[in-house]
């Protein structure tokens, strides 16, 4: 069960990695399918969780964002005000969206594109398949609202796509508004 998964099950210490920023080419590279049992990939899973944990406000981090063109991401929308269904913290390998319905537009930001935000239309209900690191069984996750959006954003990263590739119009990219 994905909800009982914990980074402790990886049994390795995660290292905090540097988050790369656009226009770094790795962010535009389709990630390779990974072997979830490969010790290097298990280490990467722990590193993604560790890096996500130290990044304020970060609810997800994909391998390309730490410079590795691979189909893996960490996610945790626990406590987010827009989350409904929440599967807690997990890392998924080789994830694919198999069903997506009920599109809604919302404004997204991304650690790899720190100076812009953009309006992106995404499904509010999705079904995703993937494999937990260190396991071999494919599992299916159905979720909604903010977790559904975050999943699609991370799966996009794994395929070399940024939210900039999906913005809802010519005027849908905005300078990031950061104020004190």
């Amino acid at each position: 069960m994905i909800t009982s998964w914990s980074p402790k099950l990886l049994d390795v210490e995660g290292q905090v990695l540097e988050v790369v920023r656009a226009p770094h080419p790795v962010l535009a590279t389709e990630g390779a399918t990974v072997d979830p049992l490969d010790p290097g990939m298990i280490q990467l899973a722990a590193d993604l969780v560790a890096t996500m944990r130290v990044s304020p406000g970060c609810v997800g981090l994909a391998a390309p964002q730490v410079g590795v063109a691979a189909q893996m991401f960490a996610l945790d929308v626990t406590g987010h005000s827009k989350a409904r269904t929440c599967h807690g913290v997990f890392v998924l390998c080789n994830a694919v969206v198999v069903e997506a319905t009920r599109n809604e537009k919302a404004r997204e930001g991304c650690m790899s594109v720190p100076d812009f935000t953009g309006d992106v239309k995404r499904a509010t209900r999705v079904t995703v398949t993937g494999v937990l690191p260190g396991t071999t069984d494919e599992l299916t996750i159905s979720t909604d609202a903010f977790e559904a959006r975050a999943l699609q954003h991370e799966i996009d990263h794994c395929n070399g796509k940024l939210f900039l590739d999906r913005v809802a119009g010519a005027h849908a990219v905005y300078p990031r508004k950061v104020y004190q």
Partner: protein, 168 residues
């Protein structure tokens, strides 16, 4: 090299952007921020770019006539520091004079600033959308009420909603 403001407007046809930007790139200009859009059959471009003033002016000379072009030197760039949280303002209703003036005056009176605004008229329907920043000191309830009153007088509908982004 100076920072230049280039504006171009003229009857729309395919290739205006390509013609203008090709002429600019030939002078070594690097396009920075720009906005380009179709306004009731006229294509309008506003570009801020860094480049040599005289060369840019003469490179665009052959395009004058069909297109109205201005090139001006700009003062030093001022970084826009956001004054507060972002909001999206929408106004729509029957067209009549004074909608933009009335609504933007309310925003200004609350200490807000507008960072982007567009209006469209189609048939009798007038639509205004704007990105607004409001300072933390702004009294949102009072602004909402003031906008409602202004909207009622103008016979239009107005909504002001937070435009916060979610980091993923």
């Amino acid at each position: 090299m100076s920072q230049l403001a280039v504006t171009v407007i003229g009857p729309d046809r395919p290739g205006i952007i390509a013609d203008v930007t090709e002429a600019l790139v030939g002078t070594g200009v690097n396009l920075e921020d720009s906005t380009m859009t179709l306004l009731r059959g006229h294509f309008a471009m506003m570009i801020v770019c860094a480049g040599p003033f005289d060369e840019v002016k003469s490179a665009l000379e052959p395009l004058r006539g069909e297109l109205v072009i201005t090139v001006r030197k700009m003062g030093p760039e001022h970084e826009h520091a956001p004054i507060g949280a972002p909001y999206m303002l929408s106004v729509h209703g029957a067209d009549r004079p004074g909608i933009v003036a009335a609504v933007t005056r309310m925003i200004a009176a609350a200490g807000g600033t507008i960072t982007d605004l567009a209006t469209r008229l189609s048939g009798g329907l007038y639509v205004l959308t704007a990105e607004v920043e409001l300072p933390p000191t702004a009294e949102l309830e009072m602004l909402d009420r003031a906008l409602e009153i202004a909207a009622e007088e103008l016979g239009v509908g107005v909504t002001l909603r937070p435009a916060e982004s979610d980091d993923l």
